[in-house]
């Protein structure tokens, strides 16, 4: 590893994803890197954050010492409620999700196929404890599913693949992927690079992707 900055940091991935969320959107953020999206609302836009455990109008984490064990997000971390927020039960919360009322959901991923299939809940390995949470409801119900993820696993295995080998969370659900190397659209023709991270070449992204990759479209 050199000191050069190649690719995007977690924060930069989150910032890029935030840029692609339209003003006024209702947004649900998955656990992990997706949570960082909330820090990067572009100037002039307002998003309303939903957390599936029963809060619309979720605000940032509270100041140290201000945490309330009964005001948490889906990742069970302390959060705040902004003016205009509302609390509701799980039945109503998933009415919002399943009923198609959430505009954008940003999730993490274990694998994404070239057709937008997502696997993010179980390796399917023997002895693994399957833990699906709300992910399957989100991909089934939310209009636009973004993924933020490192381009490869810690071991260097591709996460963008022709076909997921892990159990699916949902089929043909992901529309755009924000990785550390590139922003990639899932198109009817397969993965297409939309933007390359600084210092990253198309060939490098291809090499780290286990599926055909279409280059940037000339405009």
């Amino acid at each position: 590893m050199t000191g050069c900055i190649n690719g995007w940091t977690r924060e930069q991935m989150a910032m890029r994803a935030a840029r692609d969320i339209p003003d006024g959107s209702y947004v649900n953020l998955g656990i992990g890197i997706p949570e960082l999206v909330a820090k990067f609302v572009p100037d002039g836009r307002e998003f309303i954050y939903h957390t599936e455990n029963g809060l619309l109008g979720m605000g940032p984490e509270p100041a140290p010492g201000e945490e309330d064990s009964e005001l948490i997000n889906a990742g069970k971390k302390a959060v705040t409620a902004l003016p205009g927020a509302s609390f509701f039960h799980h039945g109503d919360s998933f009415t919002m999700i399943r009923g198609g009322h959430i505009d954008v959901c940003v999730l993490g991923a274990m694998q994404i196929s070239q057709h937008g299939d997502l696997a993010n809940w179980s390796t399917g390995a023997k002895g693994a404890i399957p833990a699906v949470g709300g992910a399957m409801d989100l991909v089934a119900g939310v209009k636009t599913i973004f993924v933020i993820s490192q381009h490869t696993t810690k071991n260097g295995a591709a996460k963008l693949v022709e076909k997921c080998s892990y159990p699916l969370t949902g089929k043909q659900v992901v529309t755009r992927i924000f990785s550390d190397l590139a922003i990639i659209d899932v198109t009817p023709e397969g993965f297409r690079v939309r933007e390359l991270a600084p210092g990253i070449g198309f060939e490098e992204v291809c090499a780290k992707t286990d599926a055909p990759l279409l280059p940037l479209e000339e405009t």
Binding site: I48, G84, F88, T95, M96, I97, R98, G100, H101
Partner: protein, 236 residues
């Protein structure tokens, strides 16, 4: 800044097209968005499918919309009007279609439509003529009928207080069908007795979270249908 407040009833309802399916809140006159309905009459959309528990009162509000000839079909549980023969006369003349749905099934179909549930089973109507032609399934030894979720293009809603984000609270039994209809329409248009500042509604007490609302118009002193009926008024 998200601001769902619209300054006039006319602009709030202006894009409702001919042929639209419109849910209208209220049970009898309680919770009836009469000002919005009158706005819809003025606007002129026709061939509407209207979903409401009843068929209006006297010759105002929903009854007036029906009388105007703009409603192609009613979906309701109790198509009787107070102090009015508007619906019965059109129905007997074959000029309006009727889909009769038990009140609880109507409520659940609307709730299902809003919640992304395309169909569900219920014991209501089993062994009655209203179950004829529907799928029956035996589950744990009891028969149930398959019913489908209901959605609408628009919902016309009355509430007590709203904020600019679209959070709503209601007044007593004027709540009725309004909150579930908010969830089931593509565009939800609300007549609020008062618009308050964001933060003016307690998060624990919000009945309709703002995600279900698209437009809010303040109607500070809404007409009371029974007053209009008592005065013998016909709209327009």
């Amino acid at each position: 800044m998200i601001n769902k407040v619209i300054s006039s009833i006319a602009s709030a309802v202006k894009d409702i097209p001919d042929g639209a399916t419109v849910m209208i809140g209220g049970f009898g006159e309680a919770g009836s968005p009469t000002a919005l309905i009158h706005g819809l009459i003025d606007q002129g959309a026709k061939e509407l499918t209207v979903i409401n528990n009843n068929t209006g009162n006297g010759e105002v509000g929903l009854a007036a919309l029906i009388a105007s000839g703009r409603v192609k079909k009613m979906i309701c549980s109790y198509p009787r009007s107070s102090h009015s023969k508007v619906f019965p006369d059109l129905y007997r003349a074959g000029e309006i279609m009727l889909e009769i749905v038990p009140q609880g099934t109507l409520a659940e179909r609307i709730r299902a439509g809003g919640a992304g549930i395309p169909a569900f089973y219920t014991a209501t109507t089993v062994n009655t003529p209203l179950a004829e032609g529907k799928e029956i399934r035996r589950i744990d030894g009891r028969d149930y009928v398959l019913e489908y979720g209901l959605k609408a293009d628009y919902a016309l809603i009355k509430c007590e207080k709203a904020d600019r984000l679209g959070n709503l609270i209601y007044n007593k039994t004027a709540r009725n069908f309004n909150p579930i209809m908010c969830t089931a329409a593509n565009i939800t248009i609300v007549q609020a007795r008062k618009i308050v500042d964001v933060g003016g509604l307690e998060p624990e007490n919000v009945i309709t979270p703002n995600i279900f609302v698209n437009r809010v118009v303040e109607v500070a002193n809404p007409v009371i249908e029974s007053d209009l009926v008592a005065e013998g008024i016909s709209y327009p």
